[in-house]
């Protein structure tokens, strides 16, 4: 990236922007850093403004979170960093943090007179890049620029890696994971193929790693193709080589795809983690009805907890439970975490805190329940169990109904080939959680949600939960911004609805699911799996993600766009997990999560996606038993690399910096990303 894209010498406003473009910062940096400070207390506000001015920063003060958000939205690239108070009357600081992370992917510093460990931890998990205790001293403010630089550096690093020699190393993990998961798949014809692919990839990597590939801009279309390919292959089995083949895009290399896949997975992971924090975000972010509690692995999800935390609307919980009950029938006693919509987007800035929060059992506090209440064509027994679980949930009711009609259409598409289209109908009619209208929007939000959810699931494992939330937060934040980083293997769009329906109707989940899955879009590997299995790995890539998502934020990515993408992503991914016995659960839950998260984030009621999710979830239920096992195979979940948007984001960033005033392509403004585009 050429830092001096001609902007360095421009007006003050752009002077700070100039350095963003590249690794080099202008001489006067950090002077001119554009800070937005939000605090409802006028005294604190003027003091902070004075201090920041003394640091030679450009300060904009704001006493209301809503105003701050609109300021940020209006000037997509107008600010470098945000400092916000935690306690504000109109909006909780953490919720604002989530929003910013999701929509703008800017580094956010939280402040409070409260220095209690819990509050600080909350800052970490929500993705704040720093936490200052009031009264804030000017010394503390002098170095805030480091957060901006760090974020950008990570972003750059991500781009570099995607096209460079190091790519092999980083991508190796996901590939390896894929292998593991495939090998764990039972009766999955793809596993052997995957292994072969893995070998081939390794060889390819050696050959191509030495070549410097030109940056690939992951446009909306390209990404759609990518997701479609992934869904088709099955998220667990989606290896770069095969994805590349499916996409059939001239000039695209396996490395490009591998890197993008890494990000995508991370994004998904983050989505699952975000759902936990979604509660706060929910209100402002999307219609309350959109609480979509994707059903990630129904195993061990603490639906109750989630319900209690109030994050997941009663309806969602009910639905999730219902859906998840099918599984619980097979495996009783496994609480299904509800993925609170709000959680979906509780994007924590992974940044420096990322490592800490990752392994924490974030989900433990707010387990995500995947769509339990999604009615499907489950066997009577299953249904019964579903109902039971729904009841146990209490008043949760996923407002799926409203979207049922719409989603059923989508589901129908998916389930076309399947004989069991009932699920679609049922799910559509009943507990489909209210999908945010913007579901069709950026994948990021969905992915993140999915990712978040997935992570939360892991709650039981205790491992990834923390991570999910953190990662998700970060990914969520960054993702909307077109930062591809966080696509941590979250559940991507539910593609395999059809598969789900089939599975549910049958009893033999595995085989059927596998076969069904194949036909459907790829499942998103349930991130929960990887959380459990590979905490280390998740950490690795999470950290990667962390950097990623923050960097990308600079590009103006309309939130809308992001949301759409995410919804579509969700749709696709749901099914990838189904393929494997163990993976299935994962996927479904991941899917559910992604879907929910995406749906919620976007605020659009994408019924179709919901349906798919539901289907996925429902299908997942029966395979719940298998889920348990998937800890072995969920390795790939852990690998979710940075959000797939990284490269795109960076490209976009670069472009913009280079004078492109046009919308950055990579920005995940997947406005046009509709489920219809997903090849089933």
């Amino acid at each position: 990236m050429n830092p001096s894209n001609g902007k360095g010498s421009m007006s003050t406003a752009s002077s700070s922007a100039a350095w963003k473009a590249g690794d080099v910062v202008p001489d006067q940096f950090p002077a001119g850093l554009r800070v937005l400070v939000v605090d409802d207390d006028p005294t604190c506000l003027v003091i902070l403004e004075k201090m920041l001015r003394a640091c030679l920063y450009e300060v904009t003060k704001c006493n209301r979170a809503e105003i701050a958000l609109s300021l940020l939205r209006e000037n997509k690239n107008g600010f470098d960093i945000v400092i916000s108070d935690v306690h504000m009357p109109d909006m909780d600081g953490f919720k604002l943090l989530e929003h910013i992370g999701l929509e703008m992917d800017l580094p956010v510093i939280m402040m409070s007179a409260d220095d209690g460990k819990n509050v600080v931890m909350k800052g970490v998990t929500h993705g704040a890049c720093d936490y200052l205790i009031k009264p804030v001293r000017i010394e503390a403010l002098r170095n805030i620029w480091q957060h901006v630089v760090r974020k950008r550096k990570n972003e750059w690093r991500e781009l570099e890696q995607s096209g460079s020699v190091e790519e092999g190393d980083r991508q190796q993990k996901p590939c390896d994971d894929l292998d593991y998961s495939s090998s764990a798949n039972e009766g999955n014809w793809k596993s052997s193929k995957k292994r072969k692919d893995e070998e081939e990839e390794t060889e390819e990597r050696d050959d191509s790693s030495t070549l410097k590939k030109p940056r690939v801009v992951w446009s909306v279309e390209l990404h759609q193709q990518f997701v479609a390919a992934v869904n088709q292959l099955g998220i667990d089995k989606a290896v770069p080589k095969k994805i590349l083949e499916l996409m059939n895009v001239p000039g695209l290399t396996r490395e490009n795809v591998a890197s993008h896949l890494q990000k995508y997975r991370l994004y998904l992971r983050r989505l699952s983690g975000v759902s936990q924090h979604h509660s706060s975000l929910n209100n402002s972010f999307m219609s309350p009805e959109a609480t979509f509690g994707p059903m990630s692995s129904l195993n061990g999800l603490d639906l109750q907890t989630l319900a209690v935390t109030g994050q997941l609307p009663a309806q969602s919980l009910a639905n999730l439970q219902a859906a998840g009950l099918g599984r619980s029938a097979a495996k009783s006693g496994i609480p299904m975490p509800l993925i609170d919509q709000r959680n979906l987007f509780s994007f924590e800035n992974p940044k420096s805190r990322f490592g800490e929060g990752q392994q924490q059992h974030l989900s433990s506090s707010k387990p995500m329940n995947l769509l339990h209440g999604i009615p499907t064509t489950m066997e009577p027994k299953q249904l019964a169990s579903l109902h039971q679980s729904a009841q146990s949930l209490g008043n949760m009711n996923v407002q799926v109904n409203s979207h049922g009609a719409q989603s059923s259409s989508l589901l129908m598409q998916m389930a076309k080939t399947q004989s069991r289209g009932n699920i679609l109908n049922e799910s559509a009619g009943s507990h489909l959680p209210t999908l945010p209208s913007s579901i069709g929007q950026p994948i990021i939000s969905n992915g993140i949600a999915g990712g978040v959810i997935g992570r939360n699931e892991i709650g039981d494992n205790g491992r990834g939960t923390g991570y999910n939330q953190v990662a998700q937060t970060s990914s969520m934040l960054s993702f909307p911004m077109n930062h591809t980083t966080e696509l941590a293997g979250n559940n991507f769009p539910i593609g395999s609805t059809p598969g789900i329906s089939n599975v549910t109707s049958k009893g033999a989940f595995h085989e059927e699911v596998n076969s069904e899955i194949k036909s459907s879009a790829g499942f998103v590997p349930s991130y929960d799996i990887f959380n459990d299995l590979h905490p280390q790995k998740s950490q690795d890539w999470e950290l990667q993600n962390v950097g990623l998502h923050f960097n990308a934020s600079q590009n103006a990515n309309p939130v809308q766009g992001n949301l759409d993408v995410s919804s579509s992503v969700l749709v696709h991914q749901g099914y990838s997990s189904r393929q494997q016995g163990s993976g299935q659960n994962r996927n479904i839950s991941a899917m559910g999560r992604t879907m929910f998260s995406g749906l919620e984030a976007t605020g659009q009621g994408n019924e179709q996606i919901m349906d798919q999710l539901l289907n996925n979830l429902i299908v997942d239920t029966p395979v719940r038993v298998k889920y348990e096992r998937f800890s072995d195979t969920s390795s790939q979940n852990a690998l979710f690399a940075d959000p797939f948007g990284q490269e795109d984001l960076m490209s976009a960033l670069l472009k913009q910096q280079q004078g492109n005033t046009g919308p950055a392509e990579p920005d995940f403004d997947f406005d046009g990303y509709s489920i219809d585009n997903i090849p089933v």
Binding site: D40, D41, P42, T43, C44, V46, I47, K50, M51, A54, D85, H87, S112, A113, D114, K134, P135, R137, I138
Partner: protein
């Protein structure tokens, strides 16, 4: 510049610091003052008192409701405390902390009693600061000691 005034101003400040009315934060604010904004500290304190009156009202109301919502009360006080801390009002801050402890313990009596202390400290500091700024103005300097444009 009136030496007497400046000296008296400094002595007053010293005394306020020693007695715990003000702390390091206040000094920080004074250091922030510069030529562009010579009355920054006084303006900030004025803003504080204008806003804190409203916050105290909120607390008063919360205390008056039955049953007392201690969570809301705690939130209100947290805001007030945060504001007071920002100008370095140490004694006020201490009373606020005590108040919040009573809140945590859901001790209404303790809260009411402590709140009176809070208001007292708040008012007493206001008077002292008013004198301080007056002295600064008379001395031809701003609170922070800058040659003022008063």
């Amino acid at each position: 510049m009136d030496k007497n005034h400046l000296q008296r101003q400094l002595e007053m400040k010293r005394s306020l610091l020693d007695q715990g009315y003000l702390d390091e934060q206040f000094i920080q604010l004074e250091e922030l003052e510069d030529g562009d904004n010579p009355n920054f500290v006084e303006e900030t304190v004025t803003t504080f008192y204008a806003n804190s009156a409203r916050l105290l009202q909120n607390i008063e109301q919360a205390l008056g409701s039955r049953p007392i919502d201690f969570t809301a009360l705690d939130n209100c006080m947290h805001q007030f405390k945060s504001s007071s801390t920002s100008i370095g009002a140490t004694r006020v801050k201490k009373e606020c902390t005590l108040f919040m402890e009573y809140c945590e313990a859901a001790n209404a009596e303790g809260c009411i009693r402590t709140f009176r202390q809070v208001k007292q400290e708040h008012a007493s500091l206001k008077t002292k600061l008013e004198n301080y700024f007056k002295l600064a103005r008379q001395g031809g300097t701003s609170a922070g000691g800058h040659a003022g444009r008063s």
